[in-house]
Protein backbone atom coordinates (compact mmCIF):
# COMPACT_ATOMS: atom_id res chain seq x y z
CA UNK A 1 0.00 0.00 0.00
CA UNK A 2 1.29 3.41 -0.83
CA UNK A 3 0.02 6.61 0.73
CA UNK A 4 0.80 10.29 0.71
CA UNK A 5 4.30 11.40 1.62
CA UNK A 6 4.89 12.85 5.01
CA UNK A 7 5.76 16.42 4.06
CA UNK A 8 4.53 19.94 4.67
CA UNK A 9 1.10 20.48 3.20
CA UNK A 10 -0.13 16.95 3.82
CA UNK A 11 -3.66 17.14 5.18
CA UNK A 12 -4.68 14.88 8.03
CA UNK A 13 -7.98 13.02 7.67
CA UNK A 14 -10.57 15.38 9.09
CA UNK A 15 -13.01 14.49 11.83
CA UNK A 16 -16.49 15.93 11.66
CA UNK A 17 -18.07 16.11 15.09
CA UNK A 18 -21.77 16.57 15.73
CA UNK A 19 -21.89 17.90 19.29
CA UNK A 20 -25.21 17.76 21.11
CA UNK A 21 -26.39 19.22 24.41
CA UNK A 22 -26.22 15.64 25.68
CA UNK A 23 -22.54 15.51 24.81
CA UNK A 24 -21.93 18.79 26.66
CA UNK A 25 -23.54 17.34 29.78
CA UNK A 26 -21.46 14.18 29.37
CA UNK A 27 -18.31 16.26 29.03
CA UNK A 28 -19.24 18.42 32.02
CA UNK A 29 -19.63 15.29 34.13
CA UNK A 30 -16.52 13.51 32.88
CA UNK A 31 -14.29 16.58 33.07
CA UNK A 32 -15.73 18.14 36.21
CA UNK A 33 -16.26 21.49 34.44
CA UNK A 34 -19.70 22.47 35.66
CA UNK A 35 -19.73 26.06 34.45
CA UNK A 36 -23.40 26.60 33.58
CA UNK A 37 -22.79 28.22 30.17
CA UNK A 38 -22.27 24.69 28.87
CA UNK A 39 -25.63 23.17 29.86
CA UNK A 40 -28.05 25.81 31.24
CA UNK A 41 -29.65 27.73 28.32
CA UNK A 42 -31.08 30.46 30.54
CA UNK A 43 -27.80 31.01 32.35
CA UNK A 44 -25.91 31.09 29.04
CA UNK A 45 -28.27 33.73 27.58
CA UNK A 46 -28.09 35.86 30.70
CA UNK A 47 -24.30 35.75 30.28
CA UNK A 48 -24.73 37.31 26.84
CA UNK A 49 -24.28 34.12 24.82
CA UNK A 50 -26.64 32.89 22.08
CA UNK A 51 -27.19 29.68 24.08
CA UNK A 52 -25.09 26.94 25.62
CA UNK A 53 -21.65 26.65 24.04
CA UNK A 54 -19.06 23.92 23.65
CA UNK A 55 -16.31 23.66 26.26
CA UNK A 56 -13.04 24.91 24.83
CA UNK A 57 -11.34 21.83 26.21
CA UNK A 58 -13.83 19.59 24.40
CA UNK A 59 -12.65 21.17 21.15
CA UNK A 60 -9.06 20.63 22.29
CA UNK A 61 -9.93 16.95 22.81
CA UNK A 62 -11.38 16.77 19.27
CA UNK A 63 -8.18 18.24 17.81
CA UNK A 64 -6.02 15.88 19.85
CA UNK A 65 -8.07 13.02 18.40
CA UNK A 66 -7.36 14.25 14.85
CA UNK A 67 -3.67 13.82 15.66
CA UNK A 68 -3.70 10.57 17.63
CA UNK A 69 -6.08 8.75 15.26
CA UNK A 70 -3.89 9.74 12.33
CA UNK A 71 -0.50 8.99 13.88
CA UNK A 72 -1.52 5.86 15.80
CA UNK A 73 1.40 4.28 17.63
CA UNK A 74 3.89 5.67 15.09
CA UNK A 75 4.21 9.05 16.66
CA UNK A 76 4.39 10.31 20.22
CA UNK A 77 2.48 13.52 20.89
CA UNK A 78 4.86 15.90 22.67
CA UNK A 79 2.87 19.12 22.58
CA UNK A 80 -0.61 20.45 21.86
CA UNK A 81 -1.60 24.09 21.85
CA UNK A 82 -5.04 25.59 21.22
CA UNK A 83 -6.56 29.07 21.24
CA UNK A 84 -10.31 29.41 21.47
CA UNK A 85 -11.26 32.15 19.02
CA UNK A 86 -14.96 31.70 18.53
CA UNK A 87 -17.96 30.09 20.14
CA UNK A 88 -19.41 26.84 18.89
CA UNK A 89 -22.96 25.74 19.56
CA UNK A 90 -24.35 22.22 19.85
CA UNK A 91 -26.46 21.12 16.89
CA UNK A 92 -23.94 22.46 14.39
CA UNK A 93 -21.36 20.20 12.75
CA UNK A 94 -17.77 21.03 13.62
CA UNK A 95 -14.97 20.12 11.23
CA UNK A 96 -11.74 19.26 13.03
CA UNK A 97 -8.78 19.56 10.71
CA UNK A 98 -5.02 19.44 10.54
CA UNK A 99 -2.14 19.84 8.14
CA UNK A 100 1.58 19.04 8.35
CA UNK A 101 3.55 22.26 8.72
CA UNK A 102 7.12 20.97 9.03
CA UNK A 103 9.07 17.74 9.18
CA UNK A 104 12.53 17.93 10.71
CA UNK A 105 14.18 14.58 11.27
CA UNK A 106 11.83 12.73 13.60
CA UNK A 107 9.96 15.83 14.66
CA UNK A 108 6.69 16.72 12.95
CA UNK A 109 4.84 20.00 13.43
CA UNK A 110 1.15 20.19 12.71
CA UNK A 111 -1.31 23.03 12.36
CA UNK A 112 -4.77 22.27 13.75
CA UNK A 113 -8.10 24.02 13.72
CA UNK A 114 -11.85 23.62 14.12
CA UNK A 115 -14.11 25.06 11.47
CA UNK A 116 -17.79 25.96 11.86
CA UNK A 117 -20.39 25.59 9.06
CA UNK A 118 -19.61 29.17 7.89
CA UNK A 119 -15.95 28.21 7.47
CA UNK A 120 -14.78 30.27 10.45
CA UNK A 121 -11.85 28.88 12.38
CA UNK A 122 -13.23 28.84 15.90
CA UNK A 123 -10.23 27.10 17.46
CA UNK A 124 -6.69 27.37 16.14
CA UNK A 125 -3.55 25.69 17.30
CA UNK A 126 -0.93 23.11 16.65
CA UNK A 127 0.81 19.99 17.82
CA UNK A 128 4.24 18.42 17.76
CA UNK A 129 4.94 14.73 17.31
CA UNK A 130 8.04 12.62 17.64
CA UNK A 131 8.12 9.80 15.15
CA UNK A 132 8.93 6.30 16.26
CA UNK A 133 10.76 3.81 14.10
CA UNK A 134 11.21 6.08 11.12
CA UNK A 135 14.95 6.58 11.42
CA UNK A 136 17.29 8.12 8.89
CA UNK A 137 18.10 4.69 7.44
CA UNK A 138 14.65 4.64 5.88
CA UNK A 139 14.29 7.39 3.32
CA UNK A 140 11.25 9.46 4.16
CA UNK A 141 10.21 9.95 0.56
CA UNK A 142 9.51 6.23 0.30
CA UNK A 143 7.33 6.20 3.37
CA UNK A 144 3.61 6.13 3.04
CA UNK A 145 2.02 8.02 5.90
CA UNK A 146 0.74 6.69 8.10
CA UNK A 147 2.86 3.60 7.42
CA UNK A 148 0.69 0.59 6.79
CA UNK A 149 0.76 -1.91 9.61
CA UNK A 150 -1.31 -4.50 7.78
CA UNK A 151 0.94 -5.29 4.83
Amino acid sequence: MSGPELRPGLELPELVKHPTTRQLVQYAGASGDFYEIHYDQEFARSAGLPGVVLHGLLKAAFLAQVVTSWAGERGRLTGLEVSYRGLDLPGRPLRCRGVVKAVEGERVELELWTEDPEGRRTTVGGATLELRGLGRDRPEEDEAWPPSSTT
Binding site: G29, S31, I37
Partner: protein
Amino acid sequence: MSPEGAPPGVVERLRTRLGREGVESVHVVEAGHVRRFCEAIGDGDPRWREQAPPTFVVALGAETPELPEALEYGQGWLNGGDRFEYLEPVRVGDTIRVRSRLVDAYEKRGRSGDLLFLVFETEYVNQHGRVAVRVRGTRIRR
Protein backbone atom coordinates in the same frame (compact mmCIF):
# COMPACT_ATOMS: atom_id res chain seq x y z
CA MET B 1 -10.22 51.08 31.19
CA SER B 2 -11.66 48.21 33.24
CA PRO B 3 -15.27 47.12 32.70
CA GLU B 4 -17.86 49.30 34.38
CA GLY B 5 -18.03 48.55 38.05
CA ALA B 6 -14.64 46.82 38.23
CA PRO B 7 -12.78 48.28 41.16
CA PRO B 8 -9.51 49.96 40.28
CA GLY B 9 -6.26 48.20 40.88
CA VAL B 10 -7.56 44.65 40.40
CA VAL B 11 -4.82 43.78 37.92
CA GLU B 12 -2.12 45.28 40.14
CA ARG B 13 -3.38 43.34 43.14
CA LEU B 14 -3.50 40.12 41.11
CA ARG B 15 0.04 40.65 39.94
CA THR B 16 1.20 40.62 43.55
CA ARG B 17 -0.20 37.08 43.65
CA LEU B 18 1.94 35.68 40.82
CA GLY B 19 3.40 32.36 41.90
CA ARG B 20 0.56 31.69 44.32
CA GLU B 21 -0.30 27.98 44.36
CA GLY B 22 -3.60 26.22 44.73
CA VAL B 23 -4.11 23.31 47.08
CA GLU B 24 -2.27 20.22 45.84
CA SER B 25 -4.49 17.23 45.16
CA VAL B 26 -3.74 13.56 44.55
CA HIS B 27 -5.69 11.35 42.16
CA VAL B 28 -5.60 7.76 40.98
CA VAL B 29 -6.31 7.49 37.25
CA GLU B 30 -9.38 5.25 37.23
CA ALA B 31 -10.33 3.06 34.27
CA GLY B 32 -13.99 4.03 34.58
CA HIS B 33 -13.19 7.72 34.64
CA VAL B 34 -11.01 7.44 31.52
CA ARG B 35 -13.76 5.44 29.79
CA ARG B 36 -16.43 8.04 30.60
CA PHE B 37 -14.12 10.81 29.44
CA CYS B 38 -13.52 8.99 26.12
CA GLU B 39 -17.26 8.47 25.67
CA ALA B 40 -17.82 12.17 26.33
CA ILE B 41 -15.29 13.30 23.73
CA GLY B 42 -16.34 10.58 21.28
CA ASP B 43 -12.93 8.92 20.95
CA GLY B 44 -13.21 5.13 20.87
CA ASP B 45 -9.54 4.36 20.23
CA PRO B 46 -8.77 1.06 22.07
CA ARG B 47 -5.45 2.55 23.19
CA TRP B 48 -7.36 4.55 25.77
CA ARG B 49 -8.26 1.40 27.71
CA GLU B 50 -4.74 1.46 29.19
CA GLN B 51 -3.59 4.99 28.59
CA ALA B 52 -5.27 8.35 29.14
CA PRO B 53 -6.04 10.37 25.98
CA PRO B 54 -4.09 13.64 25.61
CA THR B 55 -6.48 16.07 27.30
CA PHE B 56 -7.68 13.72 30.08
CA VAL B 57 -5.52 15.25 32.80
CA VAL B 58 -7.76 18.32 32.96
CA ALA B 59 -10.49 16.01 34.30
CA LEU B 60 -8.38 15.25 37.38
CA GLY B 61 -9.52 18.58 38.74
CA ALA B 62 -6.71 21.04 39.39
CA GLU B 63 -7.31 23.39 42.30
CA THR B 64 -6.30 26.79 40.99
CA PRO B 65 -5.24 29.28 43.67
CA GLU B 66 -8.06 31.29 45.22
CA LEU B 67 -8.17 34.73 43.64
CA PRO B 68 -11.22 36.55 44.95
CA GLU B 69 -10.00 39.76 43.29
CA ALA B 70 -10.56 38.18 39.86
CA LEU B 71 -14.29 37.88 40.52
CA GLU B 72 -14.54 41.63 41.03
CA TYR B 73 -13.64 42.02 37.35
CA GLY B 74 -16.32 41.58 34.66
CA GLN B 75 -19.31 39.23 34.66
CA GLY B 76 -18.05 35.81 33.74
CA TRP B 77 -15.29 33.51 32.54
CA LEU B 78 -14.12 32.61 29.07
CA ASN B 79 -11.47 30.10 28.16
CA GLY B 80 -8.66 31.67 26.15
CA GLY B 81 -6.51 28.68 25.34
CA ASP B 82 -4.51 25.75 26.61
CA ARG B 83 -1.03 24.47 25.95
CA PHE B 84 -0.14 20.89 26.84
CA GLU B 85 3.41 19.62 27.16
CA TYR B 86 3.69 15.81 27.27
CA LEU B 87 6.69 14.36 29.05
CA GLU B 88 5.51 10.91 30.16
CA PRO B 89 2.40 8.87 29.36
CA VAL B 90 -0.44 8.86 31.89
CA ARG B 91 -1.77 5.34 32.38
CA VAL B 92 -4.74 3.82 34.14
CA GLY B 93 -3.64 3.07 37.71
CA ASP B 94 -1.13 5.92 37.92
CA THR B 95 -1.22 8.17 40.97
CA ILE B 96 -1.00 11.79 39.90
CA ARG B 97 -0.29 14.78 42.11
CA VAL B 98 -1.73 17.99 40.70
CA ARG B 99 -0.49 21.44 41.53
CA SER B 100 -1.47 24.68 39.88
CA ARG B 101 -0.15 28.21 40.20
CA LEU B 102 -0.86 31.65 38.80
CA VAL B 103 1.93 32.63 36.40
CA ASP B 104 0.59 35.75 34.70
CA ALA B 105 -2.17 38.36 34.98
CA TYR B 106 -2.77 41.16 32.49
CA GLU B 107 -5.49 43.28 30.93
CA LYS B 108 -6.29 43.70 27.23
CA ARG B 109 -8.63 45.98 25.39
CA GLY B 110 -11.19 43.82 23.54
CA ARG B 111 -13.69 44.70 20.81
CA SER B 112 -16.58 44.43 23.25
CA GLY B 113 -14.88 45.79 26.35
CA ASP B 114 -11.79 45.14 28.36
CA LEU B 115 -10.66 41.70 29.40
CA LEU B 116 -8.62 40.31 32.26
CA PHE B 117 -6.30 37.42 31.39
CA LEU B 118 -5.12 34.98 34.03
CA VAL B 119 -2.57 32.33 33.12
CA PHE B 120 -2.28 29.19 35.25
CA GLU B 121 0.41 26.56 35.00
CA THR B 122 -0.57 23.13 36.23
CA GLU B 123 1.82 20.23 36.69
CA TYR B 124 0.72 16.61 36.81
CA VAL B 125 3.38 14.61 38.65
CA ASN B 126 3.27 10.81 38.56
CA GLN B 127 4.07 8.26 41.27
CA HIS B 128 7.70 8.24 40.12
CA GLY B 129 7.99 11.91 41.01
CA ARG B 130 8.27 12.98 37.37
CA VAL B 131 6.17 15.63 35.65
CA ALA B 132 4.04 13.71 33.15
CA VAL B 133 2.09 16.65 31.73
CA ARG B 134 2.39 20.41 32.11
CA VAL B 135 -0.57 22.57 31.09
CA ARG B 136 -0.59 26.32 30.65
CA GLY B 137 -4.16 27.57 30.61
CA THR B 138 -5.37 31.09 29.88
CA ARG B 139 -8.64 32.06 31.52
CA ILE B 140 -10.41 35.33 30.79
CA ARG B 141 -12.73 37.51 32.86
CA ARG B 142 -15.00 39.79 30.86
